[in-house]
């Protein structure tokens, strides 16, 4: 069978919040020119996550996780960083100075999860209206559906 880039196991690294920007900078030196994706996950209802302790090291699992995917065009490889963010201290450094393409991605994470990015030039809501209350992708934010009303439906 042919070589497929998706066959190789992903390079996933757990990074402490304090080392996040340093790690990004060193990865950028290493050759990861592009940050293709920056998103977050709310592990409120699934705190365990089933991660091997040796992978995690001495990083404590928190409610939010910011996931950053970097791409090296020259070396044709990807790396994924997972940073734990506590609910009580939902701030992390902004990657904008290293990777300006994260501007919109960080705004989306702020809008959907409420995680603030320190040093971001314009941290405002991007998808929801500017005066919207709440952060929709959090697990304690309901989906907001209207119960469908027809006979015999289980609600």
């Amino acid at each position: 069978m042919s070589q497929s880039s998706n066959r190789v196991a992903d390079d996933v690294r757990f990074v402490a919040k304090a080392d996040y920007l340093k790690t990004l900078a060193s990865l950028r030196e290493e050759g990861f020119e592009m940050c293709v994706d920056l998103t977050a996950v709310d592990y409120l209802t699934h705190p365990g996550r089933n991660i091997a302790p040796e992978v995690l090291g001495d990083i404590a699992l928190e409610r939010f996780e910011v996931v950053v995917n970097l791409l090296s065009l020259s070396q044709r490889r990807r790396v994924r960083l997972r940073v734990q963010i506590a609910e009580s201290d939902a701030v992390i450094g902004s990657a904008f100075d290293l990777y300006p393409g994260t501007e919109a991605m960080e705004r989306e994470v702020f809008d959907m999860f409420g995680i603030k990015f320190d040093g971001h030039p314009d941290l405002t809501r991007i998808l929801m209206p500017e005066d919207w209350q709440g952060h929709p992708l959090r697990k304690d934010y309901g989906i907001g559906n209207i119960p469908v009303q027809f006979k015999g439906a289980a609600s």
Partner: protein, 451 residues
């Protein structure tokens, strides 16, 4: 005053009333400003909130710059994109794309749909190339399931065929809308006429013209119908002559060139810094195409060229897409020759439902069908990120699973969402009419921008 020469602060005007001081900096010639400075401080992006702009209204005097609104209901913004343009006369200084007018909560909806149903949700994101969305979702699910190496050959080649035909139909849509935006209104008719042929093939194969939900985890939903080869061949035979017509109508035409050459220029460093992918990145001269550089499906078994531009302008992006149609046709011909026999989906009872005929015969089949369609199949705990090359750039799906039948978190990295960030930098110093050309050359699909 020429658009791109030095504009001194006195001409820009005093806008400190708005709370920004970006306008006070002298706007130097683009080539003298480093990429980082352009992106952070020297102000191509208008960073004011909507309420601030509204408060500005009425306080500006005549020699100041004007902030006007383009969209969200506008014939040329390719959907509900709103641009706040800061204009000096007719020259665009800074711009802020305001999105969210099509936000559908698809990522939240995805958390309550099973993995089998996920395709219906994801396919409506980039509605110009729905099969690519489904493909990336299916590939990510398969990676989590651990069956990504076991997908039958025929299923993989069918996926490639559909993905390339979708690329053709998406680029034809681009041809049509780009032509209309620039002013070649008849191009709208020609582009859609060709697109109908592709959609008719899709309708025969998948049952729907758009938003097919055909590529599912495990393979595809059904086998190709009898006579599909002739359909594809007739499509491939008819297209080259039409593309030649487009060349005559547009590529060589002086007005077209005047409108697009030198408009919306972006440099390679800017594009990489802004995480732009797809034709935008390729127009700067960087030859990066996931199909060739990080191949998925069987793209390493087919021969095709990656089209690259040299100037990073809108004309390059138009040419790239036109020639990508030709390259996709080349790939489709190779797929036609190489299409193997076999299953169209993996024979794994836990993942794919049994054939409908067997439900009448076997109790087990009935139970499996029932469980898969009501509860859904369970996906092991973990997370995966898989990226493919959509007509707009790198589209990727990040799924975090908690072991249940629905994704715990489903995120789609939409290329247009990221590519829109390049628009302010492309528009700066150009005219408002060029702004229309720039939006069109970025080819955003607002469904995937807003999700």
């Amino acid at each position: 005053m020429t658009a791109t020469e030095n504009i001194t602060p006195s001409q820009v005007g005093d806008i400190t009333a708005a709370g920004t001081n970006e306008g006070r900096q002298e706007l130097q010639l683009r080539k003298d400003v480093s990429a980082k400075e352009i992106l952070r401080g020297s102000g191509a992006v208008l960073r004011m909130s909507e309420s601030e702009v509204a408060a500005l209204a009425g306080t500006q005097s005549e020699d100041q710059t004007m902030i006007i609104n383009m969209g969200p209901q506008h014939p040329s913004t390719h959907g509900v994109l709103r641009l706040m343009l800061e204009l000096n006369g007719e020259t665009v200084l800074r711009c802020k794309p305001v999105i969210g007018y099509l936000h559908t909560g698809m990522e939240k909806t995805g958390e309550s749909l099973t993995f089998m149903q996920g395709g219906t949700n994801v396919t409506r994101m980039d509605y110009a190339s729905p099969l690519n969305n489904e493909l990336v979702f299916a590939l990510t699910t398969e990676k989590l399931l651990g069956i990504d190496q076991d997908i039958p050959e025929r299923a993989v080649w069918i996926r490639m065929l559909l993905s390339e035909l979708n690329r053709i139909s998406s680029h034809l849509l681009f041809m049509a809308t780009n032509g209309m935006d620039i002013g070649a209104v008849s191009m709208m008719l020609y582009g859609f006429r060709e697109r109908e042929e592709v959609l008719r093939f899709f309708q025969k194969v998948t049952g729907l013209r758009m938003n097919h939900n055909f590529i599912r985890p495990g393979g595809v939903a059904a086998d190709l119908p009898a006579g599909w080869r002739d359909e594809v061949l007739s499509l491939l035979d008819a297209l080259p002559a039409r593309l030649a017509e487009y060349e005559i109508l547009m590529t060589g035409q002086p007005i077209w060139r005047e409108r697009l050459q030198g408009v919306g220029v972006i440099t390679r460093d800017e594009a990489i810094a802004l995480s732009a992918t797809g034709p935008i990145l390729r127009s700067t001269g960087l030859s990066w195409d996931l199909r060739r550089d990080m191949p998925y499906l069987r793209y390493d078994k087919v021969e095709f060229d990656v089209i690259v531009g040299s100037y990073g302008d809108a004309f390059d992006r138009y040419s790239i897409r036109l020639n990508e149609i030709r390259e996709s046709m080349r790939i489709v011909r190779q797929v036609l020759d190489a299409m193997p026999q076999g299953d169209y989906r993996i024979q794994d009872k836990k993942v794919t439902p049994p054939p409908r005929g067997r439900i009448d015969e076997s109790m087990e089949a009935l139970i499996h069908h029932f469980k898969i369609f009501t509860e859904g199949f369970k996906v092991p705990e973990g997370e995966a990120y898989v990226a493919i090359e959509s007509p707009r750039g790198e589209i990727a799906c990040y799924i975090a699973s908690d072991g249940s039948a629905t994704p715990y978190r489903m995120h789609v990295r939409a290329p247009s969402f990221v590519n829109i960030q390049t628009m302010p930098h492309m528009m700066r110093g150009g005219l408002v009419a060029d702004a229309v050309a720039v939006i069109s050359s970025v080819d955003p699909v607002l469904g995937e921008v807003d999700r």
